[in-house]
């Protein structure tokens, strides 16, 4: 096996140095009744050539661009990734290093993550961002737990227009804690109904997502004011990070904690993971943050350098009193996002965000023109809901056969929204793609 460098001679001489005769003798401390007698029942080893064939066959059974036109976002977005980003990200000094516990040998990762934290803070309009989390959903769950720790309150109010799968993750995290999750309904404008907050007391946080699951842009300032009236923290979530290239950022709308998914920033969808959980807050809550943080410092000669810092919050020091059990950050995904943000630049991200918005508006207008209903009239970014006529399932199935995925059916998540579909258009969908979709759904 070419990953195992030992020759028979090496093994012989090493066994001798250890003082045993056979490889099996190395396991003398494993009691006989714990040892496996038979071999593992797994497929025989493949050569690299055979593996290529096998994996190519699996990969070919997947519906992806350019053969398929997928008008589906819902937390996972198709954006163009420059070759320079993929190429740089594959440098093995980044890929094959560990968490930078020994900073003198890891300055590359550390400076890059410090830069990532800075760019994220600027994107979201916050003072401090973490070195990343698993995904947007876990970042939201950690943010709500953080709000509980800060306020000492045991209830959180969560918009029903936060991604339904994110809400399920929150439920999983909260279930054994005894903390309560209250849901805020939505209005027929496609925005969160905040009126229920008047009746709620003892809230740690009010959480909304913007753009929300229907694609609509929430009035974050209003949410912030309402949350602060109730002495709760305002947690602002997102699934489409690119939106903040154009929209007013959550920080300047009064958010106390901002969390969400950064997959749009140069990370391939890969069936949903690995992803990039982003989490940011103000300096006053810095020591309450879960997860890794990189900070600037100096070396013995006074030169600038970077280290993992504020470790006293973390599990390996505080054990059960830690702010979280997180040990991994999604460092390489954070690095991809930093490379992407650096490549797109301040001018580019605005242009790109505008293009996403304008393309989605084009499709929305064309569908409207054909008589389909756009049930929620609030402004949207690159996703929106369409109500198709009853019986649209048959059209949907026909389009799948024609290599088009015309959005996501909302009925499994919102049973009251039969025939409602969530459609997404990014810069990767051309006008021709959209015109073809309109023709197909019409016929």
């Amino acid at each position: 096996m070419h990953y195992l460098p030992h020759t028979a001679e090496d093994i012989e001489s090493m066994l001798q140095a250890v003082g045993v005769e056979h490889l099996d003798d190395l396991f003398s401390t494993v009691p006989e009744d714990c040892r496996l007698q038979e071999g593992l029942d797994l497929p025989e080893a493949l050569t690299e050539w055979e593996l290529d064939e096998h994996m190519a066959a699996l990969s070919n059974e997947m519906a992806v661009s350019p053969e398929y036109r997928v008008f589906m976002g819902a937390g996972s977005y198709e954006h163009f990734i420059p070759a320079s980003v993929s190429y740089l990200l594959n440098r093995s000094e980044f890929v094959t290093s560990y968490t930078p516990y020994q900073p003198e040998m890891s300055q590359g990762t550390l400076q890059a993550i410090y830069e990532y934290q800075t760019l994220v803070a600027r994107l979201l309009g916050m003072e401090v961002a973490t070195a990343s989390h698993y995904d947007g959903a876990t970042a939201l769950a950690e943010s709500l737990l953080m709000a509980v720790r800060i306020t000492g309150q045991r209830k959180v109010a969560v918009s029903s227009l936060i991604h339904p799968l994110y809400r399920r993750v929150v439920k999983t995290y909260f279930e054994p804690t005894g903390y309560e999750v209250l849901e805020l309904p939505y209005l027929n404008t496609g925005l969160t109904d905040l009126s229920g907050l008047d009746e709620m007391d003892g809230l740690a946080a009010v959480a909304v997502q913007s753009p929300n699951f229907f694609g609509c842009i929430e009035d974050l300032k209003a949410v912030g004011e309402k949350a602060h009236d109730k002495d709760a923290l305002f947690v602002s979530s997102f699934t489409e990070a690119l939106a903040y290239g154009l929209l007013i950022n959550p920080g300047s709308s009064g958010a106390d904690i901002v969390c969400g998914e950064g997959q749009s920033l140069g990370i391939p969808r890969s069936f949903g993971g690995p992803a990039l959980g982003m989490l940011a807050t103000g300096k006053k809550y810095m020591r309450k943050l879960p997860g890794r943080l990189v900070g600037q410092t100096k070396d013995l000669d006074g030169k600038r350098g970077f280290v993992l810092t504020l470790a006293t919050r973390e599990q390996h020091i505080r054990r059960e009193k830690a702010t979280s059990n997180i040990c991994t950050n999604n460092s390489l995904c954070a690095l991809a996002a930093a490379m992407y943000m650096a490549s797109v630049g301040g001018s580019g991200i605005r242009e790109l965000a505008l293009l996403n918005h304008d393309k989605a508006e084009y499709l929305k207008a064309q569908l409207k023109k054909e008589g389909f209903t756009i049930p929620f009239d609030s402004p949207t970014f690159n996703e929106f809901v369409v109500e198709f006529p009853p019986g649209f399932e048959a059209t949907y199935a026909r389009l799948l056969k024609k290599n088009t995925v015309p959005g996501l059916s909302l009925a499994p998540y919102y049973p009251e929204l039969a025939n409602h579909y969530l459609l997404c258009v990014t810069e990767t969908r051309s006008k021709e793609d959209m015109d073809a979709l309109v023709r197909e759904v019409r016929s």
């Binding site: 990953y3 009691p31 040892r35 690299e48 066959a57 740089l88 990762t109 460092s331 393309k359």
Partner: protein, 485 residues
Amino acid sequence: MKESLGTTGLILNEPLLWEKGKKGRSGFSLPRRDVESCPLAPELTGEGPDFPDLSEVDVVRHYTRLSQWNFGVDTGMYPLGSCTMKYSPKTNETQAGRPGFTGAHPLLPAGLCQGILRMMFELELYLAEITGMDAATLQPAAGAHGELAGMLLIHGFHRKKGNKRSKIIVPDTAHGTNPASVALCGYRPVPVKSNEQGILSVEAIFDVMDDDTAGIMITNPNTLGLFEENSRKIAEVIHGRGGLVYCDGANMNAVMGVVKMGAIGVDVMHLNLHKTFSTPHGGGGPGSGPVCVKKHLEPFLPVPRVVEENGRYVLSDDYPESIGKLQAFHGSVGVIIKAYSYIRSMGPENLKKASQLAVLNANYIKERLKGVLHLAYDRPCMHECVFSDKHQIDDHITTLDMAKRLMDYGFHPPTVYFPLVVDGAIMMEPTETESKEELDQYIEALKAIVNEAKDDPNLLHGAPNKCKVKRLDETLAARKPCLAG
């Protein structure tokens, strides 16, 4: 002695991203605008983020220079104990990078994603076979996330039985994340000390196990690199009082094909694909922490689960007792593909061989260094061994000094000051992918450092001397935090 690996060469300085660039540059080929502009209401739009504008060359040089300040497994030996820095095969990167995998939307209808579903289904079977368990989930994003999943499963199991239990036993030789995972799930960790041999005694567990204890979280092999010889009897004690046994399987790389945890009383365990199954660590992640369970915990696994129906694969949510979801989608699929191709490349015999050679390498280091450094527990080890700086105390040299000096010799230092049960711990895990020559050179470097500790201690106090920066002031970083520029 061979020439030292560590040398100095030309490394370039590189400023922070926003200290370079000029407004108006771009490193991105903006897609063509083929629709008309359609302005959004001004009250909804912001200024746009204050990012620097850089050219593609600016960006490429920036990250190429940064990468050269890093050290990875591809650079050299990285014997970080408990972290399993084995070689990450390149073909796995190629496989995970196939467009059919990278471009796949996670909510595709099942008929349009059979390739990934089949791969996930098969990997679950392989992991269950390797651990001797009945079922698996690939959803947890990392080892600690797997621990949380395991605790939630135990919580779900007891709740269904109507048992309200409040404690989990966590030995002092467990991984650092264990107590925090326990606490996150609302349990109180009950610490237990290992015995003079570095393992758990049945009596110690018997003394703390009671009807209010939901189970035990046992790292096996433990963080001293020792096999928990009494694990079978400990499991009997736990089960006897209605508890469950969680195994932190981060060290499964020592015993593949040698021990099936399911056969020695474990009810639930996690694996780290980024340790045992060779997926790269990426400077701290992404990882993947699948959880394997016995039959009685299967109903509680996270949803959706991949199910086979007449040779086709579908995702099913139909598990009413499930703990729910741990991530928005299906786990670190990009990582999972790499572990799958590793297992397919290795086959059953080579997986066992990998464990045997990992244990051989660790024992070889232990034997060759035990007269040089203080060995904490002088018994046969598994995949890692733990030394300390006890012999260097009179020279006023610490574990940290020796670790930093090792960098000058061209090696990444071992794990230091962990596990906590050994003062000044130096925990070495060579892994099976290091050759004998590499190990010999590492051993010689440590011997030289121990001599330097006596003859020229300032060399160690000032180390490292050959890295991009000198020793960094971590206290300053924590006292005056500067987390963004």
